[in-house]
Every structure is written in structure tokens, then in C-alpha cells.
Amino acid sequence: MPSRWKTAIVVGASSGMGEEIARQLVVQGCKVALVARRAEELNRIAQSLNTAQEKKVFTYPHDVGDYTQVPALFQQITHDIGGLDAIIYAAGVMPSVQPNEYNFEKDRKMIEVNVLGAIAWLNEAAQRFGQSQGGTIVGISSVAGERGRYPQPVYCTSKAALNTYLEALRNRVGRYGVKVVTVKPGPVDTPMTKGLGKLPLLIPVDRAAREIINASQSGKKNVFVPGIWRWIFLIIRNIPSFVFQKLKF
């Protein structure tokens, strides 16, 4: 039976999967801290979820690239919400990249948000959970991290790095009762995928959030969303490199 969380932080909560995960956690009765860059979006979400009787949602405007802020902000949040059962790192960017484009600014931004921001936040969580001998760390990665693919070299790199980091974290703090969950969604109907044309096996964001929460609360380690991607990528991972070079997906 999944164990529900009483307190959680969602980083990257102003839209997309992060927002939907936060909404569903509040419905479960969880007290949720929303962290994201856009204060007005956070306030909009908080206003729609908080009631006059009960404050379930706390907002913290923050740019995940501002790594030095994280230790103080992390403890401010745990102080305000009275504990921490889980952290969900859902911040991520995937700028449009042309086939022959090598734009270092875009690449750096992806590494900063998708990898370094995650490390800054989840290092704090790992230390805390390791000390308190419990807790759940959820990193929203992507199936893109499974292979280095033609259209998005650095996005794939960032998600592969995140996968490896989460695996290492699991090996480091899992022995203290801390759960580390690597979530690999395929295409999800969020602002990130708008304008990308027709995507295979696109699923609505509420379904993705529900599957992520259920799997994380059930103690899964590696989660494909939806599950069919596990089998698809089992095949893709085993395509020989000389064949993969000829493909353009």
C-alpha cells in the first residue's frame, strides 16, 4: 500500500508536471512547498488550492540557477511546512534546437536547470534524509536520457547525467532508508511539448502526475511513464551504434 506524504517540496512547480503533481499532493492532504521562478504563477496556484481554513500550499519564488540560495531556502521551507517527507525535482528546460545548431547558451541553460539545479536541491535533500533515516527523492528525468539521440544532444546528456546522479544518490543514501526515484516520462502534454508537432504516445499531464506519485509512494526506483516506454527503450537501448547513427528520431 502506498504511504502518503504529509509534507513535500516540488521544484519547478509553476507549470506542467510540477504543477499537476503539487495539485494532486494537496488533494491527498499533503502540505506542499512550491518552488519556481515565476512568482505570479506560484501565487495563482496557491490561491486556487489554499482555503480560508487551511493553508496547504507555500510559495517560494526561486531561480534554480541560483545555487547559493538553496541551503538557506531549503531549511526555510522545511521550517515553514514543519518537516519533509519528499522532494520532487520537476524543473527542466528543453529549448528548440535545430539539427545543425550548436548554441552554447541554450546548452548551458539545459545543464544548469536540468542537472546543476537538481544537484543543488537534491544534495540538500540527501543530506537531510540521510540524517533523519527516511524520505523520498523524486527526480523527473526523461526517456531522452536513455540514448544520445540526433535532435537533442545536450538535453539527452542532461537527462542521462540526472539519471546517473540519481542512481548514485540511491546507492549512497538508500542504505539509510531513503528512497530515490528516477522518473522517465515519455512525451507529456505540457507547455514544454507545445509546438513540437505530433508526438508518439503523448499522455495528459494529470495521468503522468498520478502515475509518478503512485510509483514514488509505492517505493519504485525506476519508473517509465507510461510503463510501455520501458519495453520500447529496452529495444532502443540495444540498437547497435552503427544502426543508431542512421536514425533521425
Binding site: 522545511t78 518537516g83 540524517q131 533523519s132
Partner: protein
């Protein structure tokens, strides 16, 4: 150092969240309630000196944190917890500062436990006049909660035996308090659940004993009414009275019990006091029947940790006590009689994983029988029958936040599970209504379920206002808080 003059309460204190600065993760620990019913994460500091305590207060100020005082962590609920703040653990301040075996006056630091205390003094012929059911309790915690024993009706709470103490307030003052010096603060800080400052030295008058043994008389009562009558008849002469109540019994047998009266042996009765007063003669046996390690016993009891199992145990215990063991007198060591909770090590693990609450209420003599009868019936009706009920006689005391009454207490061990938790809290509300209607009171050391309204109802607004004035005098920054204080009196006590 003198206490500052009292000042009237100021306007509402600042309610915004303080600016938090990070503390080292190395300090973070999971800190639990003794009843295993709740736990929090807190940054734990264990100073060994008064200067060390002052440093912790300063760290709290500069890092935007509050401080919860904690001794051995024996409160059943959240009385020593404060999530995400500082837990000031005083267990390392555990030195005996002075001992006079002629007068029986001892001065000790707050982390000294009841075990440390009795083992230090017993061979000189002294015993702590008040002890709790476990010897793990620290003296600081004992004063903060103003603990009582099975002899409360005769000697009052531990506060009655304190000659003086020194209180380090968050402001940094050390205030010496006794019945003649800072007397009002003396009667407020004792039982003040750690809200006014930290006891840094405690001077106690101990009880002279002439034997390491007590005379213990066991008797069974077939119902609650008989138990009340027996206690009323015996309290004039008994030194200790306590009863275990079978909360499963219904109808005419409702409230049937096994009770014990214990009395000190007068001088000259024990022919070998030097031997019976040895610490080694007081130690609780480590094995059952000389074979089974008692540390494993909870594992044998665990399969019975359900309604049917506990009904069986209660029935067997009463049947044995009302037949074979009835009206028997035995000599028993002080430690063996006093520390029933230590008799089976880790017995509370029987209640894993959900833990337990102990619901204890204190009700005046005139209304107690009706109230406790209604409590048992309410529990049975709700299908949440306490696995254990403990019944004691009490008397009034003169401490501001006292839990005591001239009457009786009834402590109910109620198991918690993920499924019954909400129902237990609903049941507790119903029991609270019975207690308030009967003019009863509650005990912070045991509490997990009270709400602010009920706390105000039994303490009275005048007492709370007086306590708040002392809070503002000793701790104007409101640095000392606990989850219990927040639950009952808000963040801005």
C-alpha cells in the same frame, strides 16, 4: 540575581515566520515521542555546561529557530518535540553536584535520571520521595512536568520535595528559586513544561528509608465501586496505592482490578538493611524464570497485541490475582515495586508500528467514579478498548499549572494503528468532555490529544494569563516552545 518586575502582556507578538539561516545537517536527528505516536526532525544540541546552553539559545536567535527542552524524552506525546527547530537535550548535564548523606539533601544537574539518583543514594539509606513508573526520567523533565508517583495522595508531586532550583532563562539570567526566594516563579516553573527556562541545578530533599524493601499487599476488587471504597479506606495509612484495571470487563465486572498497597518498613523491622539497601539487591532481574532474557519478552507479548489477545491477558491476570495472589503480602525491593515500566524492557515495542497514547485524566473524588465508568463504557462502545488501565489516588498541590486534584487519576494505554488513529482522536474528544464536565484536569507529560479549548477550560483563564506573564518575563522572545505548547496555546505563547 533578582527577577525583573512583572510587566503586563504586550500587544500581539510578531507572527511572521522568522528568517531562517541553515544549521549543519550533522545536527539533524529524528526525535520521537516516548509513545512512538509521533516524531519530528530537529537539530539536536547536547551541551554539558551552562555556557553551552547559553550558546544554544544564541544559535537559535541568530538562526531564526525556537528551542524545545528535552530530557530523557519520556513524555508520551509531543511535550519535548518541536519540528525543524532546536532540540536542547540536557541528558549530558548529568552530574551530582552535592550530596549530604546526613540530611538527605542532594543537588544535581537536570540530566541526572531517577536511576542515577536512587543508585547514588540508596546505600546511605535514602530514596527519592517521588518516582515515576520508569527510572529513565531525567530530573529536569521531572520538574518540568512535576511528575507524581503512586504515593501522590501522601506526598504530592516531586515539586513538593524540591528545596530550590536554579533556572537559566533564555534571556541569560540565572534565577534561584525556592519557597522563600522567587516563590511565585518556583511554583510556576515547576510544572511549567519547559516554557520558562532550563533548570540547571535542582536541590531535593530525599526520603529516609530503613530497608531496601517495601511491604507490598495485593488485593483484587470485583468492580470499580469496590476499588474506590478500598482506596478511600486505605489512603490514611498506605504509603503507596496503585491499581491495574481490566478495561475489557463489562457489566457487573466493569472496572475490576488488581491493586497494590505498599508501605515503608519502620526502623528495626529489616534485620539486614545494609544488605537490602545495596544497589545490586535492587536491580531488576534480567531474565524471566532465570532463563528467558527479559529483553526478548516484548516479542513474546507482541502476538497478543490485539483486542482478543489483550482481553485474554487481562482476564488471566485478574483471575490469577483474584485467586492465587489475593490478599498476599510480600517484601519487594523499592526499584522492583516502583519501576513497573522497566520490568519488561522495551515493552512499548508491543505497540509497534503505530505506537500508543496514554490518555490520563485527573478527576475530583466526588465525580471520579461516574466519570471513569463512563470512560470505560465509551471506549468499549467505540471498540477501542485500552490494553491497560492504571488507577491512582491524588491530592491537590499549589503549583500554577498543576494536573493534580483531590481525587483520582485513570491512565488508559490506547494502541494506535494507521486505521484507528482518527477514531482514537474522536474518542479522546468524547473522554475530554466527560473529564471537563466532572471538573477534571490533564497532564502534559501524557498528553497527545488535547485541544486548546479543553486546555483553557481546565486550567482557567486566570492561571493561563498568570503563566503568560511569567513567560514574557523569562522568555520575552518566546524562544522556548514545543509542539505541545503550540497545539494548546499557539505559536505566540
Amino acid at each position: 540575581m533578582a527577577v525583573r518586575p512583572l510587566t503586563p502582556p504586550t500587544s500581539e507578538q510578531e507572527t511572521t515566520s522568522p528568517k531562517i539561516l541553515p544549521l549543519s545537517w550533522d545536527r539533524l536527528e529524528r526525535v520521537g515521542a516516548w509513545g512512538m505516536n509521533t516524531s519530528v526532525c530537529a537539530f539536536v544540541y547536547r551541551p554539558t555546561t551552562i555556557e553551552g546552553i547559553r550558546e544554544v539559545f544564541e544559535i537559535a536567535r541568530t538562526h531564526g529557530r525556537r528551542v524545545a527542552l528535552r530530557g530523557s524524552g519520556c513524555s508520551y506525546g509531543d511535550a519535548s518535540l518541536l519540528a525543524e527547530n532546536i532540540s536542547l537535550d540536557l541528558t549530558r548535564m548529568n552530574r551530582i553536584l552535592a550530596w549530604n548523606p546526613e540530611t538527605g539533601v542532594i543537588k544535581a544537574e537536570p540530566g541526572v535520571t531517577i536511576r542515577n539518583l536512587w543508585q547514588y543514594v540508596i546505600e546511605d539509606g535514602w530514596w527519592s520521595p517521588v518516582v515515576s513508573g520508569t527510572m529513565v526520567v531525567s530530573l529536569g523533565g521531572a520538574l518540568g512536568m512535576n511528575i507524581h508517583g503512586k504515593n501522590n495522595f501522601r506526598v504530592g508531586p516531586i515539586g513538593n520535595h524540591v528545596l530550590e532550583f536554579e533556572l537559566l532563562t533564555p534571556k541569560g539570567d540565572i534565577l534561584r528559586c525556592s519557597r522563600t526566594e522567587n516563590a511565585e516563579l518556583f511554583h510556576t516553573a515547576i510544572g511549567g513544561f519547559g516554557m520558562l527556562g532550563c533548570f540547571v541545578s535542582i536541590t531535593l530533599q530525599l526520603k529516609k528509608v530503613y530497608s531496601g524493601h517495601l511491604s507490598v499487599y495485593a488485593f483484587a476488587t470485583p468492580d470499580l465501586s469496590t476499588l474506590f471504597r478500598e482506596f478511600e479506606a486505605r489512603m490514611e495509612t498506605a504509603d503507596y496505592l496503585v491499581a491495574w484495571v481490566d478495561c475489557f470487563a463489562k457489566g457487573k465486572a466493569l472496572g475490576r482490578s488488581l491493586a497494590h498497597q505498599a508501605d515503608y518498613l519502620p526502623k528495626g523491622v529489616d534485620p539486614i538493611p545494609a544488605q537490602t539497601l545495596r544497589v545490586s539487591k535492587q536491580e531488576l532481574p534480567e531474565t524471566l524464570f532465570g532463563v528467558i532474557p527479559k529483553s526478548l519478552m516484548w516479542r513474546f507479548i507482541k502476538p497478543f497485541s490485539n483486542n482478543w489477545g489483550m482481553r485474554l491477558i487481562n482476564w488471566a491476570k485478574y483471575t490469577q490475582g483474584s485467586t492465587l495472589g489475593n490478599h498476599k503480602t510480600v517484601r519487594q525491593a523499592h526499584a522492583a515495586f516502583a519501576f513497573l515500566l522497566d520490568y519488561v524492557p522495551n515493552w512499548k515495542f508491543v505497540y509497534k508500528p503505530g505506537g500508543l497514547i496514554q490518555y490520563q485524566s485527573f478527576v475530583p473524588e466526588a465525580t471520579a467514579e461516574a466519570c471513569f465508568t463512563a470512560q470505560i463504557e465509551a471506549c468499549q462502545k467505540a471498540g477501542i478498548v485500552p490494553f491497560l488501565g492504571v488507577f491512582k489516588r491524588h491530592r491537590k498541590d499549589d503549583f500554577l499549572m498543576s494536573h493534580a486534584v483531590d481525587g483520582y487519576s485513570f491512565a488508559l494505554d490506547i494502541p494506535l494503528t494507521a486505521k484507528n488513529r482518527a477514531r482514537v482522536w474522536e474518542l479522546a474528544k468524547e473522554l475530554n468532555r466527560l473529564v471537563i464536565a466532572a471538573g477534571g484536569r490533564f497532564y502534559f507529560a501524557k498528553d497527545s490529544t488535547l485541544d486548546s479549548q479543553t486546555a483553557h477550560a481546565y486550567l482557567g483563564e486566570a492561571a493561563i494569563a498568570q503563566f503568560r506573564r511569567w513567560k514574557q518575563t523569562c522568555d520575552p522572545e518566546n524562544l522556548l516552545q514545543t509542539d505541545l505548547s503550540r497545539r494548546l496555546f499557539g505559536d505566540n505563547f
